[in-house]
């Protein structure tokens, strides 16, 4: 599908090949323009029976179930599931904080933490590739102090290359504009879509409530990959440190030994609020430490969705 002349750093063929066997499925019906592997809110002509419905004038007489008429002396129309394609909207947080990536002593370790932006590129790129492979439309929006760049979902391989170009060129800088991007996305994307947000969510959870609610109101399927660098949770500094804000907010001088406990408490409070938000909004939430292989994260994500679809 892609030319070898354009190798992408964030795409690993081995990972792609291993994940290709697991479909990327939406958790709710999609409204697509072509037939695909995703369920549609409309009744169609697939082999998957959906339900009986009373006949109303105007219905195609060929879809009447005569056997049901013979048993009940009433007219019923037999309906089947319609399969359609998926619109995948990737939302990449490109705020300055996404540039953070700790390095561990002995950098030759197997799972050296990546910078969050690189980790996010891999997730977005892989998901985009998988969606393109199964004929879904892929778009992308980069969020950093407003929408930096947006590509609406398209099904063409050429468009997918553009998406990869955007991923490749994305540079973390400035403050985050994730909430604003999500609101704009909810407004501009009329048809149902799978919105995958890859971000460290270093924003006030109260701001996210409105954004997620807006997306849910538009019947979008929302999935969030919440990225954490291991150092951001461990806060394992020893010496007095001057912390420079990657989003340009100035510096803070602190003795990590003194402040670590309170940092942990602040982090726990933030995560607790976020957990409440996830439960209330029903979004697909994945918390990811960047020292975890992204393949593993994506496999968990895809399998979870496939299993949810199977149960339904």
């Amino acid at each position: 599908m892609f030319s070898d002349r354009q190798p992408r750093k964030f795409l690993e063929p081995a990972v792609l090949s291993r994940l290709a066997g697991v479909p990327l499925l939406a958790r709710r019906p999609m409204v697509g323009s072509v037939s695909g592997r995703h369920s549609s809110p409309h009744r169609g002509s697939s082999v998957e029976f959906a339900e009986y419905r009373k006949y109303v004038p105007g219905d195609d007489l060929r879809r009447l179930d005569w056997r049901a008429f013979g048993r009940s002396d009433r007219f019923y129309v037999k309906e089947y599931e319609a399969d359609t394609n998926l619109r995948l909207c990737l939302v990449l947080d490109t705020s300055g904080s996404m540039a953070y990536g700790s390095t561990k002593a002995g950098g030759a370790a197997v799972h050296q933490p990546l910078a969050k932006i690189d980790y996010a590129r891999r997730i977005c790129g892989t998901l985009g590739y998988l969606a393109g492979q199964q004929g879904d439309a892929v778009g992308i929006a980069c969020a950093a102090a407003g929408v930096v760049r947006t590509l609406p979902p398209r099904r063409s391989p050429a468009h997918l290359r553009l998406v990869f170009d955007v991923l490749e060129e994305a540079k973390p800088q400035g403050t985050t504009g994730l909430c604003q991007v999500l609101h704009e996305l909810a407004e501009t994307t009329r048809q149902r879509a799978l919105v995958v947000i890859v971000s460290d969510l270093f924003i006030d959870p109260d701001g996210l409530i409105g954004a997620f609610g807006h997306l849910k109101f538009r019947r979008h399927d929302v999935a969030v990959f919440h990225l954490f660098d291991p150092q951001e949770t461990a806060f394992a500094f020893q010496r007095p440190t001057r912390f420079l804000d990657l989003e340009g907010g100035g510096a803070i001088f602190a003795d990590p030994i003194e402040i670590a406990d309170r940092y942990q408490r602040a982090l726990a409070a933030y995560l607790e609020r976020l957990r409440q938000l996830v439960l209330e909004s029903g979004i697909d939430y994945q918390r990811v430490l960047t020292d975890e292989p992204y393949e593993q994260v994506l496999a968990r994500f895809l399998v979870g969705r496939a299993m949810a679809r199977g149960l339904r």
Binding site: F228, F237, F243, L246, I252, A254
Partner: protein
């Protein structure tokens, strides 16, 4: 606070070392680009007051630890309350030790006396303080160097029977400090603050205080006051002895006084008399503060010696020094008087007054040598000289001076005509004739020749009529004065027995003769005083007079016949006991004021040192802890505690939630 190595305190600025290290450490920070600033800001907002307090507590404990090490190396001394006086180790320490009998009192539960306790405390304290020189004010008010460690057992600190003269001892210390001592000096006074030892009313205190205030050296006073009165202490004293002879039988009549604290109930105390190895005792019922046993008869037996000594004692109590009293007895010497008068009538009156003994058992004689025959008069036998006429001069003056110096008493009456001769610093002036007879308005009724009688009655001095009086010039101490302040009876201020009477017993001059009680008492009392040095047996209070009396010289070598075993002083007149030399006996005992005086109020004592560096410590017999102790161990312990506290506060606090727990809890 005092330090044995105060130069170590120069290192005290190192206390700031932890602060400097902290500041340097703060400069050695790392810079890290960071994304999760929202959590850092929230953490800083969560910064509690305790956290800041803990931070400063750690810093404070580190500084305290450094300070404690420095102070411990400086070898700090604990001086209890004395620490407030401050100052470093003194160059000279002068010990003023009250060794009076009252300092031999002890607390009920301990055998150690106040003196022994004080000496022990002084020895321990000064051994710790280690001044360059340690001096003790000896009994003769000289300063002797003494190693501090030997203060507790040196003969120089042994108890005495004499009262202490604290002002004189301080004066001696002052003289030494002014002349010899360089640098700081500390005067350690150990006393039970009895008013008689401190002579609170003496006029010299103000001068002494001013002198110390002006001395260029820094002088500090430390008073160890053992002013707690001994509980239930009894004191026995013999006030009079009289030898009675009936045929060849002799008996001794004694007057005994037993003194005890006010407010005690009735009790009985056994009193033991010891005379010539024979012991008798009686039970005396005590009532009130003072119980007198008068004219108690002690039979001496047939053919007993008319001279001897004895001892009266009571059982041991809280002060051993006043539980026994030595006495001597003997036949009184003949009462010989010399009357020298230029005017015959006056001489006759004086001769009569001097030759009539107060009791018929006594014999008295008054010689009237002429002025030309004075050299051959019975000077060695005479006890009193009554002189009317121009004051003696030349060889006569020498004779009189020698007479007075050996204890004789001289009373001078004015001459008919004015005379410019000066004797003992005094001279007669002009006569004054009073238009109306005048009466003496004031006289010394508490002591000296015109004092009240033993029964307390006053002499009728005020009833005397004086028509003529002779002016007396020179420094004198008036014993009786006329209304215009003219002295009627006066004495020389140096304490010798030289008296002046400013009128004559003639009817035209005064009623001294017609109302002869005053003149008679005057002469007889002077006679009694003059007889004391002549008596074969004599009672004397321990002190300077006894020291002078028993001093080697004049061919006499005094030997102590009996005395308390603990008396080790070589100065005879300061130790109780019986001394004998050339057939004469002298009994030396504590003075009467030792039994009567109480402790002076602390504020009175403190007032004596007003304006000086002075600190008072209450002592307690038997509690001989050193007043000065090295306390570097306490500082090391403080340092350890500070380090332990610092370590505990510096321990990384257990995180309320580990990173994994945080993520799992929020998952």
């Amino acid at each position: 606070m005092t330090f044995l190595q105060p130069w170590m305190l120069a290192a005290l600025p190192l206390v700031g070392l932890p602060l400097i290290i902290h500041l340097i450490n703060q400069r050695r920070y790392q810079t890290v680009p960071w994304g999760g600033m929202m959590f850092l800001r929230a953490a800083r907002a969560l910064s509690s007051g305790y956290s800041r307090l803990r931070h400063w507590l750690i810093m404070l404990l580190r500084m305290l630890a450094v300070a404690a090490v420095i102070l411990a190396i400086g070898r700090p001394l604990s001086r209890g309350w004395l620490a407030l006086a401050g100052g470093a180790r003194p160059d000279t320490a002068v010990v003023v030790l009250d060794r009076s009998p009252s300092m031999q009192a002890r607390a009920a539960a301990t055998p150690e006396t106040k003196l022994a306790t004080g000496c022990g405390q002084l020895a321990a304290s000064l051994a710790t303080l280690a001044p360059q020189r340690c001096l003790l004010v000896a009994a003769d008010d000289t300063l002797v160097e003494i190693p501090p460690a030997t203060l507790a057992d040196a003969a120089a600190t042994a108890p005495l029977a004499a009262s202490a003269d604290i002002p004189a001892m301080l004066r001696a210390a002052y003289d030494h400090i002014r002349e010899h001592a360089a640098g700081t000096a500390e005067i350690w006074i150990c006393s039970d603050c009895r008013s008689n030892d401190w002579s609170l009313e003496a006029g010299g205190w103000a001068g002494l205080r001013d002198a110390f205030a002006k001395v260029p050296q820094q002088v500090r006073f430390q008073l160890i006051a053992f002013d707690e009165p001994p509980a239930g202490n009894l004191a026995v004293r013999l006030t009079a002895t009289r030898l009675e002879t009936r045929g060849d039988e002799r008996e001794l009549l004694v007057n005994i006084v037993v003194t005890r604290p006010e407010g005690a109930g009735r009790a009985t105390v056994p009193i033991t008399f010891e005379i010539g190895g024979a012991t008798t005792s009686l039970d005396l019922e005590l009532a009130g503060h003072e119980t007198v046993l008068a004219n108690h008869s002690l039979p001496l037996g047939r053919g007993a010696e008319p001279r001897g000594w004895g001892r009266v004692s009571i059982p041991a109590d809280t002060c051993q020094a006043d539980n026994e009293f030595y006495f001597v007895y003997g036949e009184p010497p003949p009462r010989v008087s010399l009357v020298v008068a230029e005017e015959a009538a006056t001489g006759h009156v004086l001769e009569l007054a001097a030759s009539i003994p107060p009791s018929k058992e006594l014999s008295a004689r008054a010689d009237r040598p002429s002025r030309e025959g004075l050299a051959t008069a019975a000077w060695d036998e005479a006890a009193v000289l009554a002189w009317q006429g121009p004051l003696p001069s030349g060889r006569d003056a020498e004779l009189v001076e020698r007479f007075v110096s050996r204890g004789g008493q001289a009373i001078f009456f004015p001459p008919e005509a004015a005379d410019a001769t000066v004797f003992a610093g005094l001279a007669w002036g002009d006569w004054t004739t009073h238009p109306q007879p005048v009466h003496p308005e004031q006289w010394r009724s508490d002591e000296d020749l015109l004092a009240n009688t033993l029964s307390g009655g006053a002499l009728p001095v005020g009833e005397l009529e004086v028509r003529r009086s002779c002016r007396l010039t020179g420094e004198h101490v008036p014993l009786a004065a006329l209304p215009d302040g003219v002295p009627l009876v006066a004495r020389v201020p140096d304490g010798r027995g030289i008296f002046f009477c400013a009128t004559l017993p003639r009817p035209g001059d005064s009623t001294l003769a017609s109302e002869g009680i005053v003149l008679y008492a005057l002469l007889q009392r002077a006679l009694e005083r003059g007889l004391e040095p002549l008596a074969a047996a004599r009672q004397e209070a321990a002190g300077p007079t006894a020291v002078a009396l028993l001093a080697p010289g004049a061919g006499l070598r005094w030997e102590r016949l009996v005395g308390p075993p603990e008396a080790v002083s070589t100065v005879a007149g300061l130790q109780a006991g019986v001394y004998a030399a050339a057939g004469r006996l002298v009994a030396v005992n504590r003075s009467a004021v030792e039994d009567a005086a109480g402790s002076a109020p602390p504020e009175r004592i403190d007032a004596l040192f007003r304006g000086l560096a002075y600190m008072r410590v209450e002592g307690l017999a038997g509690r001989g802890d050193s007043l000065v102790q090295e306390i570097w161990r306490a500082f090391l312990i403080a340092m350890l505690l500070a380090l332990v506290g610092e370590g505990l506060l510096s321990l990384p606090r257990r995180r309320s939630s580990s990173p994994a727990t945080v993520l799992e809890a929020a998952a």
